[in-house]
């Protein structure tokens, strides 16, 4: 047998080594690709969560603040040139409050009896002491854990204060217009009796305030007739055989100065009628940041409102309270996001570039993704949102608010005017 024609049945050592190297490269590449895919999946999932939360927060706040307006129950107070302590003692909305943080200054906390619940200074109140520093700190997130203990003026610059994810959060206290009907269960709408006295009590009303305040007419005020009657000569004539009426909502009958008027009715803790809500009954809403109960949560942004009566149990879910001063409770009615590290608000009292009815919110979103084996990845985005309060948005409404709430300059026009 000729050895030169012998057919080899195996691989040479060199071929084996080349194949082995190729297998190792391929295996490593596949492993890296799978790891990368898992990391990519986690990162994009976190980004999706942030994107969803951005839009959800915007929708909730826009819906709420569109129904809101300035609320100034006592216009005899001085607002425009008020000092910070004076401002903190006033009652108005929208009101930017800085709730208590253990060891931090109290300069942003409201002090009036009506607003003090937003200070969350009572023992047992649920406080947000800042995002979880073990996860966010050192991951490239601007700011540091010590920021939460600083007053805004203690920061090195406005930019540093605004950029920090760890600086103290704020709450926006606001009111909403009522969209409920008057309570007219006992009304006796009989427009034929005195049509001139139950027409829409605005321009051209021929009666007096005393007419409206007479008990017989009081009971009928729930059925106004903005278009069911017309005045022909000196007489009121129905437009049809059965004049129709329309129950007026979201307004109350103002009779204070002897001139009848309709004014914005606010949502309250009692059913609305033709009279205004007294100050104590106006329901105050707040966007509050509280600790997130979720393992991967950073901070829970909720909407809460004031109630009276027996306080519900404390907690971070809907229906639970986050604060109580013994008279009023602050109860969560909507959970908005668990991926918020900080919230800051501004109104035209804080910023010259905002219109009198504008509110600006800066939301610091952070989402932790642990799909990366080496280290958790923090996806973050700080988003500026601008809203307009439209419940009282006429020229006259805005002129009144502007003249009351501020003068020619924005109060707290210092380097960092965000404290009130």
């Amino acid at each position: 047998m000729n050895s030169s024609t012998h057919c080899r049945s195996g691989l040479s050592l060199l071929e084996m080594m080349i194949a082995l190297v190729l297998v190792v490269i391929l295996g490593t590449s596949v492993t890296l690709a799978l790891e990368g895919g898992a990391g990519w999946s986690g990162k994009t999932s976190a980004e999706d969560d942030i994107a969803d939360d951005i839009l959800r927060v915007w929708r909730v706040m826009n819906d709420d603040l569109t129904q809101s307006s300035w609320w100034i129950p006592d216009t005899t107070q001085t607002f425009g040139s008020a000092s910070l302590p004076t401002d903190r003692s006033l009652v108005y909305a929208p009101f930017v409050a800085e709730p208590a943080i253990t060891g931090a200054p109290t300069d942003g906390q409201p002090t009036s009896t009506r607003m003090r619940i937003f200070a969350r200074a009572q023992a047992g109140d649920l406080r947000f002491e800042g995002p979880d520093t073990s996860r966010l700190n050192g991951s490239g997130v601007p700011g540091g854990p010590g920021d939460r203990l600083l007053a805004p003026s203690a920061f090195s610059s406005t930019q540093a204060y605004r950029a920090s994810y760890f600086a103290r959060s704020q709450e926006l206290v606001f009111v909403r217009a009522s969209n409920q009907l008057w309570n007219h269960a006992t009304d006796l709408p009989n427009p034929a009796q005195a049509p001139s006295r139950i027409q829409l009590p605005v321009d051209g009303y021929p009666g007096t305030t005393a007419d409206w305040q007479a008990s017989a007419n009081h009971s009928r005020v729930g059925a106004l007739l903005p278009s069911g009657w017309q005045k022909v000569g000196a007489n009121w004539t129905p437009l049809s055989a059965n004049p129709y009426g329309r129950v007026m909502d979201a307004c109350y009958l103002y009779t204070g100065s002897g001139t009848l008027d309709l004014k914005l009715q606010l949502e309250g803790t009692t059913l609305p009628d033709f009279q205004s809500q007294d100050q104590a009954s106006v329901r105050l809403y707040s966007y509050a940041l509280i600790p997130s109960p979720l393992a991967m949560g950073v901070g829970r942004l909720v909407r809460a409102y004031t109630t009276t009566g027996t306080p519900p149990p404390i907690g971070s879910d809907e229906g639970q309270r986050i604060a109580s001063d013994g008279v009023t409770s602050l109860v969560i009615d909507r959970v908005i996001s668990d991926n918020v590290a900080r919230v800051a608000f501004e109104t035209s009292r804080h910023a010259n570039d905002l219109g009198i009815t504008n509110v600006r919110a800066t939301i610091y979103f952070a989402r932790i993704s642990e799909h990366n084996r080496a280290a958790s990845v923090v996806i973050r985005r700080a988003v500026t949102m601008v809203f307009t309060m439209r419940a009282a948005n006429s020229w006259q409404d805005k002129a009144t608010a502007r003249s009351t709430m501020k003068t020619s300059t924005v109060i707290a026009s210092g380097a960092i005017p965000l404290t009130y």
Partner: protein
Amino acid sequence: MVSISILTVALAAVFSYQFTLNSQRESSLSRAMRTITINNLVNLVDGTNWDELGRSQRPWSMSRVRGGGVGTLPPLTLSDLLGMGVISSETGMFNGNRSADAGLGFLRFYVEYYRSTSNMDAALNPISSQPGLMDAQHASTVDFKSDFTTRAADCRIVPDPLTGLADTTLVTPGNPILVRLIAVNVDPASNSEQVIGDTFLGTSTAPQ
């Protein structure tokens, strides 16, 4: 050699797939940011009264070019948006490599003004009306309202870009001015624009 070639092709496919996915993922968050930015502008402009024009940061006061027509007007710049408080630089949206994440790199905004007459339809039609913007000289002033009353000649609407005829009619005090916001996507390769939002934002009443 065959094995190496196959391996190279496979790896290239894997990494290009990941690169493609990453590129596509940018747009998800970017869309949310665009939506918020557009809504911020709408909320700043819609329903605003003339009395609120006297602020250099407001959209009305952005620097415009006299004689510009539809499609040739300078867009609001990022500085404009920053100055108006629509976006925030301090919060990291435009820091270095995050500009693409912000989703605004290929988005442009235009604000246009339309003189409103008694016929609103004419004002809503940019061809039949007089599209134009306040001139730069006027925009540089701070008190828009008082400036309007004292230097009304500078406040007229610019010439019709189609006919070239100057509109000598001033904005009538008490009549509304329509403000129009246009948001466009920009193709970075061709620099061409695609309108993605075109909204009339209501009127701003001129001072009596």
